[in-house]
């Protein structure tokens, strides 16, 4: 009995010795020298692996930063400046200033401002629907409202509103990873500067048709009239292909364009409410439905003056839409 135990122990010991030797040799032979900073950088990154930085996961970004030795054009949209400052510390580099961005839905057609022309009966995927028809409202550029962007958002920051049929960005949750921008087959969503206290001015339309054609399908389409371009004191607005675009790097948030836009296609969000003017009738301000996110109940999206203009443009059409 005793000899069996001794043999067993001996055999195990010899096997263990040989295997550990093999392991040691292999480890030496195939040793990979990895910069320890990669681990350190990866440690401070959020670890959500959202791919918003353009690399395959957080470790991909870490590797790229350490190997290149610089942080140019590399940033973490999720962690923002705070995280990049920490990465800068590890790397001994100054973090590049990057302004926080946010996803912006540039379409305000939806169920309220377009008249439904057909019923879509297919798979709830915008890419699929885009192969079959323009949209239920008839606009071949705007949002299809089937929520592919919401389905790809890893941060639960996008939801399609039942009322308007348009996606709404939750400003607190959106980290500007850009997944929705890539998923949208019509490029309705754009990453724009988040702006001071989340205040932004943008054109909520991407329809490139001529004014009349655009207006035929949608009450709040940009008709490319050019009033905003002329009004803008900073040269931030350009009109191309019948469509106005506000350069968020030049825009100083004066909101003059918002006031002149005849269709209410230019949105200003999160500005404090202006003093109500007596001539604006109460029910009228309710008429236009705007899909712009309203995280704080008191924030009003536009100045009353714009609202009035929009109200005039929309009241008749809105009533027909509602009656159906």
């Amino acid at each position: 009995m005793g000899t069996i135990i001794i043999y067993a122990i001996a055999a195990m010991a010899i096997a263990g010795l040989i295997l550990s030797l093999v392991l040691y040799i292999v480890a030496q032979k195939f040793k990979v020298v990895e910069d320890p900073r990669i681990d350190q950088v990866a440690e401070v990154l959020p670890g959500a692996n959202c791919g918003g930085c353009g690399f395959a996961g957080c470790r991909g970004l870490a590797e790229s930063i350490v190997k290149a030795g610089d942080m140019e054009n590399k940033s973490c949209p999720v962690g923002g400046a705070a995280v990049m400052a920490k990465v800068g510390e590890i790397m001994g580099l100054a973090a590049a200033e990057s302004e926080p961005m946010i996803a912006v839905v540039r379409c305000n057609g939806g169920k309220c401002n377009t008249k439904q022309k057909v019923v879509y009966d297919g798979v709830m995927d915008c890419a699929s629907a885009n192969q079959n028809f323009s949209s239920e409202g008839g606009c071949a550029f705007g949002c299809l409202g089937l929520g592919t962007c919401a389905s790809v958002c890893k941060f639960d920051a996008l939801h399609v509103s039942e009322e308007t049929g348009l996606p709404v960005v939750d400003e607190d949750k959106c980290v500007a990873c850009g997944a929705c921008v890539k998923a949208c087959p019509r490029k309705v969503i754009e990453l724009r500067k988040k702006g001071k206290s989340s205040r932004r001015v943008f054109v909520s339309c991407i329809n490139k048709e001529k004014g009349a054609a655009a207006k035929k399908n949608c009450d709040v389409a940009c008709i490319g009239c050019g009033k905003c371009e002329k009004e803008c004191p900073f040269g931030a607005i350009t009109i191309e292909n019948n469509l106005s675009y506000i350069d968020f790097n030049k825009c100083k948030m004066c909101r003059k364009c918002v006031a002149v836009c005849p269709t209410g296609a230019i949105h200003a969000v999160n500005f404090p409410p202006a003093k109500p003017k007596p001539e604006v009738a109460e029910p009228k301000t309710d008429a236009p439905k705007v899909s712009v996110p309203k995280p704080e109940p008191k924030a009003v999206e536009t100045e009353p003056k714009t609202a009035e203009v929009k109200a005039e443009a929309n009241t008749s059409e809105n009533q027909t839409t509602k009656s159906e």
Binding site: K117, V118, D121, G122
Partner: protein, 323 residues
Amino acid sequence: MALLTVSGSPHVHSEQTTQKIMWSVVIAMLPAFLVAIYYFGISALLVTLVSVASCMFFEWLIGKYILKTENTVLDGSAVITGMLLAFNLPSNVPLWMVIIGALVAMGVGKMTFGGLGKNPFNPALVGRVFMFLSFPTAVALSEWPMPHPLFGGCVTDAVTGPTTLNLIAHGGQLPALSDLFLGATGGSFGEVSALAIIIGGIYMLYKKVITWHIPVAFLGTAFIFAGLLWLIDPSQFVNPLYHLFAGGMMLGAVFMATDMVTSPVTHKGQLIFGAGCGLLTIIFRCFGPMPEGVSFAILIMNAVTPLINKFVKTDKFGYQKTK
């Protein structure tokens, strides 16, 4: 006029729906059910009703309160599971056991995975094997109720005796093949009549619910393999026809192995699946400790199905050498 509808092509659809398929299977099981009532009387009817009712009830309960999905009870799949589970039981089984078996079949076998279409194993077989192992005295009997034509007896004083498979395994006077074919034999009450099951199978083939691949491969392999054994040593192994008509072979090949959800999707895969079932069944029957092996064979092949689906592909058009 209402608004026009827009959707991708095609714009027409065949008449076939999941519900129709499931109810066709239920209809196909009726001949075997009638034979069971003929031979085992009201108790077979009672066991089946309890089994079907509890399967439907558990599917509804779990779907409504745990999965919170749409009500799928009427799609017929729970009825099939209930009937198949009952067909695998002796007619004198206590009804509370049937209810527990149904709970395991639906709960563990099907709804855990998300309901119809997602279960890797045939739920009826899961229930049956659970009962087989948990209540061996009541379900895995060596003495089974014997057939008693035309409502001859009630549950308590039914005559019992060994099944044909027990006789094969342990020796004894085998019944005539014609009795086996028609169903005048002891055993689980749904599997006794090969003829009734074959009629159901032909109905399903006609309705295009199943294809011939699985049953033919199953029975063919079993017949050939059992035949080889018989040729080698006729004293130890029985005539392969007994294997085909006795026990759950027919029921398994026609109704259980052909379950769409748990069998491969390609015809080639189905042939392999059927052949595997046939081979394993005969191995279990001839060399295993228990007289019956159909349920285990099918469950094992169910487990292999994802692998078959992954590796056995169809011949794609345009990939073979033309010259």
